[in-house]
């Protein structure tokens, strides 16, 4: 058993409304796990449970065979790094300041930055290709660059598991691939929610499909992209083909799915399913 993370019957309800129900799966060292599913499926909620950022969830989440609730906050922070940017920071943070935050889990109360810390920050920025931007304002960077800064922060955090919430949102196709290639090249365990199924197919090693708070499937990419299941979950007719990824690539083909509304108008008054 080489499981880094084990989820067993994780459930979460708020005011009698089920958000997650009985979710179990494992994450092995080196996995790039994609969590997919429609809006409101519980993808982000599941990440919150993983990071122990919410209370009242039931079941067990074990990190290296020890329940995450038994870890101290700074120990969890040395394992999980969250890469998410929902709203821009109000104040004019510099890129360097953002990456520097990654030192926090390793610092005692009065500790100052050492020269080694400073070198580490610069090294992390080099790895994401932003060493020359260290004095730029974070707010002025493009969405893709901001994501890369946050990944540099995660590198300084020396996290074993990178947690990304919709890393490709608001990015154009070039930056979508750039960010996912970067994530893949880091060769660490990744857990991410992702909307684009075909990007998930291309970069993930495993896929967890959620719908309405329950686990539909936990499988390889090939099995996960099952048109029948996907069409049921997303409420649209779904077709699949395989495409050549790269010439001479080890992965000869990548499964690809397409959704067609079938020339019928989707009524806006009703939800999916």
């Amino acid at each position: 058993m080489n499981n880094l993370l084990t989820l067993d019957a994780v459930s979460w309800a708020v005011e009698n409304q089920t958000i997650l129900s009985n979710i179990s799966f494992d994450v092995a060292q080196g996995d790039i796990l994609g969590i997919i599913g429609p809006n409101g499926a519980g993808k982000t909620s599941l990440l919150k449970c993983l990071l122990n950022q919410t209370k009242n969830w039931q079941g067990s989440i074990k990190l290296k065979n020890k329940s995450i609730s038994h870890y101290k906050p700074h120990e969890l922070a040395q394992t999980f790094a969250l890469v998410v940017q929902k709203s821009p920071p109000i104040f004019e943070l510099k890129v360097y300041d953002v990456v520097r935050m990654g030192l926090l889990p390793y610092k005692t109360l009065f500790a100052r930055d050492t020269d080694i810390d400073k070198k580490e920050i610069i090294l992390a920025l080099k790895k994401v290709g932003l060493a020359t931007s260290k004095n730029k304002l974070f707010n002025t960077l493009s969405g893709g660059e901001q994501q890369r800064v946050l990944i540099a922060k995660a590198l300084v955090q020396k996290a074993k598991i990178l947690v990304l919430d919709e890393p490709t949102n608001h990015l154009d196709i070039f930056y979508q691939h750039q960010i996912l290639q970067l994530v893949k090249a880091l060769k660490i365990t990744v857990v991410m929610t992702i909307h684009d199924l075909n990007l998930a197919a291309q970069y993930c090693t495993r896929i967890v499909l959620l719908n309405k708070g329950t686990l539909v499937s936990d499988s390889t990419v090939d099995e996960a992209l099952n048109p029948t299941t996907l069409s049921k979950v997303f409420g649209l007719p779904c077709f699949r083909d395989n495409v050549q990824q790269y010439p001479n690539s080890k992965v000869a083909t990548v499964p690809r799915v397409h959704f067609y509304p079938n020339n019928t108008n989707i009524p806006i008054s009703v939800g999916k399913n």
Binding site: E75, A81, L82, F91, L93, R100, L104
Partner: protein, 335 residues
Amino acid sequence: MLLLSNVKGKNAWIFTGLFILTIFSLVSAITFGAAEINSVDVLQCVLSDCATPMHDMVVWQVRIPRVLVGLVAGMGLACAGAILQNVTRNPLADPYLFGIISGAGLGATIATLVVTDEQMLVLPMAAFLGALFSVTIVFGIATLLRNMNHLLLTGVAVSFMLSSISHFILYLGDPFATNRVIFWLMGSLTSVEMFHFYLIATMILVTLVTIFALHRQIDALLLGDESAASLGVNVDKLRIILLALCAAVTATIVAYCGGIGFVGLMVPHIVRQLLGVTTMPLIIGSALVGGCFLVWVDVLARSILANVEIPIGIITSAIGSIFFLAIMYRTRKTG
């Protein structure tokens, strides 16, 4: 300066400059005042012995306590403002927008009803308790609403509520009481003593030590609560500690100096332009700039009108309100 020893480059020069400015402000502010004493005599008084007992009295009993209290009050208000702005991620946060002035005013008002003599002891205490009371209410309501973004709006609402209670009591009550209470509403450094300096300075020391301990955690808040929590910060606990600290510092200052508004709002904005947004340089810079600022505003208050002192809070609020509008205009342009 030991803690700043790893600051290099531009910031080191700015800190040195601010430090020199602070010393210069302290020394030169002592030479201003109602009594006609020339600068040479004042300096002689400070450095060796005074020329006359009158000089001794004016310099050591009146001017030095006043300038020193002005310095630490400015430091405290600016630090509290900077901490609140970073902790709530709201650039318009100011200790006074949390209902602290109106709370202190209400405390003082009630005290004038209960006791009439010994007011110099009872009124500051009552003002202090009133200030803490309002902060507790504001924070309590914001917690109930489960939304820290509403902290400021809650503060404004509670301010009006407490002010209206004060005004009601004053309207019905003794007209002389109004005169005593008005001091807390306008702010003044006229009746300060060395004891107040020691008290406020101690609070600032506690604040600075706390900030040195927690600066990384406060920095982490700047990217959002979720991000801070993922770095191992207990966001709610951190916020409560820091809000309580700011409330205590501000309440102490209000208790002895009255309502001096907008220093905490303005100073951190100026310092951010000079030293950046991270907590350590921001707080230390704010302390120095805030101290100098209030010392000079007090000099203005003493010397603009002949024979009349203007309450210091009137000047800071006048400057502050214009500054407030300027910030909003600037955010509109850039945002």
